[in-house]
């Protein structure tokens, strides 16, 4: 039975429950390879749902919004929300639950054992003429792509999003219903970070000053991040103005250092910040570096252990004293 059919059946059952207000899932977008989030409230709507390697968004971002689709927080009240999550997305739920951002008890989680998602920009570059809705499935390490009446097969690693190429935990860490087969977790060795660390300090400074200077401060990275959900964000504060707003390399540096460091020990590597960046700034490089150091220094991984306390809310007396005089 294919995953979409499995998903629809599970969703129908869940939406029929009285204690469930709505379901957040994916539906076919309006053109080409675009898939969009959808919020369903009625069991009859479940035939809109799909799950495929095109479902790139991290839907947990919706949980902390004031309004989920047609429903306000008040309308939802104490009812539960059903949500479709991939491996990385499920870890956002674990972090949200640990820091009291959103209680896991208020969720019905449909976990998808993800085969990895495609990088939409890569696939659109391969098929520039795709206008009518296209389909992508996985078959033996290949993506089978049906687009404009033609079917072609492309090796998976040519189109996979970079976060999925290095992903070690494709299995959801929390779920109530699982779609797809169980996958074992692997050990993350941070090869990508090691390559960046090998540069000398001048090269690093030049690289990041250039990257940051391109930022246009649209804050899409913050808005797309499921874990940037403070209702009173310091980026928006004018009194006191923590972060200046001029679009220059220096002020952008402050913004990006702050943004990345706020996610230290929290980033679950869903890659949404990087995906939505209109200037293609490699934001995940910052998050990955922090993830590597957090693992090295504190043996901590965000969102893996549902019982773990937030990294900076706890300490050990034997923590590293590196560089302290």
């Amino acid at each position: 039975m294919d995953a979409t059919k499995q998903l629809r059946e599970a969703a129908e059952e869940i939406l029929a429950r009285e204690d469930v207000a709505c379901l957040i899932g994916y539906e076919q977008g309006s053109y080409g390879f675009r898939v969009q989030p959808c919020i369903l409230t009625d069991p009859g709507q479940t035939d809109r749902l799909i799950i495929s390697p095109l479902c790139v968004n991290n839907l947990t971002n919706y949980l902390t919004l004031e309004q989920i689709g047609p429903l306000t927080k008040e309308a939802i009240g104490e009812q539960k929300i059903a949500i479709v999550v991939k491996g990385c997305d499920s870890r956002a739920i674990t972090v949200l639950n640990a820091e009291n951002g959103f209680s896991r008890d208020r969720l019905v989680i449909i976990g998808v054992s993800s085969p990895g998602v495609v990088d939409i920009s890569k696939i659109e570059a391969r098929f520039p003429n795709a206008v009518s809705p296209a389909e992508v499935t996985v078959k033996e390490n290949n993506f089978v792509i049906s687009c404009e009446g033609e079917t072609s097969s492309i090796p998976q690693n040519e189109l996979l999003a970079s976060k999925c190429q290095r992903c070690k935990n494709a299995m959801p860490t929390v779920y109530d219903v699982l779609i797809g087969e169980e996958q074992p977790a692997k050990e993350d060795v941070f090869e990508d970070v090691a390559a960046a660390e090998a540069q000398n300090i001048e090269e690093k400074a030049a690289k990041w000053q250039e990257e940051f200077s391109r930022c246009i401060r649209c804050y899409a990275c913050r808005n797309a991040c499921p874990l940037c959900y403070c209702s009173d964000c310091m980026l928006d504060r004018l009194r006191p103005q923590f972060i200046r707003r001029s679009v220059t390399a220096v002020d952008n540096s402050l913004f990006h250092i702050t943004r990345a460091f706020h996610l230290a020990g929290r980033c679950i590597e869903c890659g949404e910040c990087e995906r939505v960046c209109p200037q293609s700034i490699p934001l995940m490089d910052l998050n990955r570096k922090l993830a590597k150091d957090v693992k090295e220094l504190f043996d901590y991984e965000a969102g893996i252990d549902p019982e773990a306390k937030p990294l900076f809310g706890t300490f050990k007396t034997e923590d590293s004293d590196e560089g302290i005089l």
Binding site: K204, V250, D251, A264, G265, F315
Partner: protein, 144 residues
């Protein structure tokens, strides 16, 4: 004129600030390059303070608090240590030399240690030269 580094030092009220005071009353000599900001605890230091100081024109930043286990608020310095040790590595990754941001533990009785810490930090920053990534520099480039 030779380069004189500007160093912003965030000192905890209960240990290092008193330690620095003791260094003064005990007539220890140390470089006049630090500008002190007193905070109630080293865990008050938001990493943003450090970046902001560097971008606003400081050549180096020093954060100093009580020794582990001696925090006036029991565990503040442990929490600060977690954050700031990680932050120091992160700054290095972005091309800000780790010698520009130092941490130290100086208790209220360690006036001599405070003098040593300031000497070491100042010499470290002096060796690196002026901080290139700062707003002042940017304005100068724009106006020229």
């Amino acid at each position: 004129m030779s380069f004189e580094p500007k160093i912003v030092a965030f000192l905890c009220n209960w240990c290092t600030y008193a330690g620095a005071d003791l260094a003064g009353t005990s007539r220890y000599e140390y470089p006049p390059n630090v500008r002190t900001v007193r905070v109630m605890c080293s865990s008050r230091i938001n990493p943003m303070f450090i970046v902001n100081a560097l971008l606003e024109g400081a050549d180096g930043v020093l954060v100093s608090g009580c020794h582990p286990g001696e925090c006036h608020y029991v565990s503040g310095n442990y929490l600060a240590r977690r954050r700031l040790v990680l932050f120091r590595r992160f700054l290095e990754h972005l091309g800000i030399h780790p010698d520009r941001f130092r941490m130290s533990w100086v208790s209220a009785s360690e006036g001599a240690k405070w003098a040593e810490v300031v000497k070491e930090v100042t010499e470290g920053v002096r060796a690196l030269g002026p901080n290139e990534i700062k707003r002042e520099q940017e304005w100068m480039q724009q106006s020229s």
